[in-house]
Every structure is written in C-alpha cells, then in structure tokens.
Symmetry: none
Subunit: 153 residues, 2 copies
DNA sequence: TGGGATTATATGGGCGTCAATGGGTATATG
DNA sequence: CATATACCCATTGACGCCCATATAATCCCA
C-alpha cells in the first residue's frame, strides 16, 4: 500500500516525540524514509504531512511561475516558509513544532488520519468530530456516496 | 532536502555575526559550503540570499526578458550590481552588510524565510506581516493555494 | 490448529553530538 | 596603527542515536 490510510492515536512523550504510525512510514519512499514535511492545513485546525517528494513537485510548479511576479512571491512565501521538514528517528518518531501543536490544539496525544497522498494530524477529539461532520455533510449533500462506494468497475 | 524551507529567527551578535540556519547550510553545495550571495530584494524590503551556484539561474531569468526593454536594464542593474558575496565561518555565521541591514530594517535579530531555491532575510516583525499579507492575497484569489499543495502530478 | 516463540510497534530514558551564541586573539588591510 | 574579519575555544540547550521494555501481531512447528 502506497497511500496513507486509516487512523491512529499516538502519544507525545516528555521529549515531545510522537510515533509516525508504522503503516504511514511504509508509504514513504525508502530513499527518504527518515524525513517528512509538515504544514498547517489551510482548511482546518490540523497539521498536514507527507513525504518530501511532494515538496519537490510543488517546487517545480512554483518555479514555472513568472519569477518577477507577485504571485511567485506569494506562493513561495506561503508554501516554502510555512513548511517545516522533520526528521523521523530510527524508532519512527518525530517532533511536531510547538507552533503547529498550538495551531491544532495538540497537547499530549495526537490523531493521525490517512488522506491518501498525505495525512492529517489532529487533536484527537477534534479530529473525531471533524470526521463526523465530514461524513454527515457528505451523506446529506451527496447521495452519490453510496453509489460511489458500491459501484464496481 | 535540497531546498530552503521553513523559517528561523536568529540573533545578531556584537560583532555583527548571525548564524545561517543549519538546514540552510545543508542546502549549499559541499564545494561552496562557505560562500553565499546576498542582494536586496526588488520586490520587498528584504534581503535575498542563495548559494553562488544560483547566480547562473538568475542570469538566465534576466536574459529571458526582452533585451531592449527597460525592465532588462533595471533588473540587470538592480540585481547584479547589488550582489555581494559573503563568507560563512566555521560556526556557520556570516556578516550582513550594513547597507542591507538598513534596507531591511534589521537591527539585533533577523528572520530567515525559506523560498525554495533561495531564501529571504527580514526584520522579524515585518517578515511575519509579509507572510500574513501574502497568504491573505492568495486565499482571496481564484488560483488557490490548496491546488498548489494538493494537486497530483 | 493450538499455543509457545519470535518479531514488530509504541513508548521511555541515558547520553553524546550539534546548533546557536558569546568572546578572545591573531591576521589582514588600508 | 586602527578597524575589520577570520579562526579558535567555550557554553548551553536541543536533538539524534542507542538501548530497554511492554504489548500486540505474526510465525512456526508439533
């Protein structure tokens, strides 16, 4: 499986370390197994993360913008300066920057939610509530969810 | 990681030295690990910096502008003639020219903002304000930041 | 197939190393 | 000779690496 799926609830220890779920670690390419990027989610009070490979994609895209334009600076600033890279230690743990923990309201425990090509880190209760809200919205607004899930190709 | 990412706030000591963030030092090619170039940003009250290797890339971009346009001369003059090279000492510190500090309003502390292939040095408060403004401008526009972040290759 | 044995994962903690910062002194440069 | 800059050494706190353990998952063989 090369996608981030399922959800996990892990603890933050005294040193601020938290385990990246094993199944998430396995999604990272062997070459960059010990480095991930984190950034504050734009749409919610959560942290999003993924392997460094995605960052290089983004860099390429930004690089194609007109270098002397305002857009270039806006994207470049909003993305590169807001992203942090974090090292995953041999035991699979990493540090969440203090600023990010504040943003997401995370204290001693965090919830990892697989999102396919990336994952989200939530304060556990808020994360569960968000799942609930998302699902309800989906069921109400899109009757097609059922179809999508049951349809065969 | 071979990109300048994240942001850092470092102090300038009595001798005028300031540490280039460790992760930025690692982006510089091993061959020219102790030399960086600095120039005044043409778009903001900040200083931009990068490894000497990037000079070629800057030259190329300027070259792509219409040779007979005013822009060409302006950019060419504004950037090339204003570039200074600075040595990074064994502890990873360097000196910011007085004129540049004045330009950016930097006194005792400076903020480093990763911009992918280069970085910016700001007076801390102004840097944060700039990030805020950039982000707000992006969120308002149709070209969404989200697309940039989540789009797949 | 049951159940002990091996492996993996999440978590805890010691300790050495490195990054950021401060300061003394030699060296250079005009 | 005066000022600026490079080199060297020191300090502190953060972080990475190593080792340890408990629980859970997997395996393997009788």
């Amino acid at each position: 499986m090369d996608l981030f799926v399922s959800k996990y609830f892990n603890k933050i220890d005294k040193k601020g370390r938290i385990s990246l779920p094993s199944s998430f670690r396995n999604v990272l390419p062997k070459a960059n197994k010990n480095e991930i990027i984190l950034y504050k989610s734009i749409k919610s009070q959560s942290i999003e993360g993924c392997g460094v490979g995605r960052l290089k994609e983004i860099a390429k895209r930004i690089n194609n913008l007109d270098f002397f334009s305002e857009d270039y600076d806006d994207f470049s600033t909003s993305i590169f300066s807001e992203i942090v890279t974090t090292n995953v230690d041999k035991e699979g743990r990493f540090l969440i920057p203090e600023e990010f923990k504040l943003y997401a309201g995370i204290k001693t425990e965090a919830a990892f939610f697989g999102q396919g090509h990336f994952f989200q880190i939530w304060e556990p209760k808020q994360g569960l509530k968000n799942t609930e809200v998302s699902r309800r919205r989906l069921l109400k607004e899109k009757k097609s969810l059922r179809m999508m899930l049951t349809q065969q190709k």
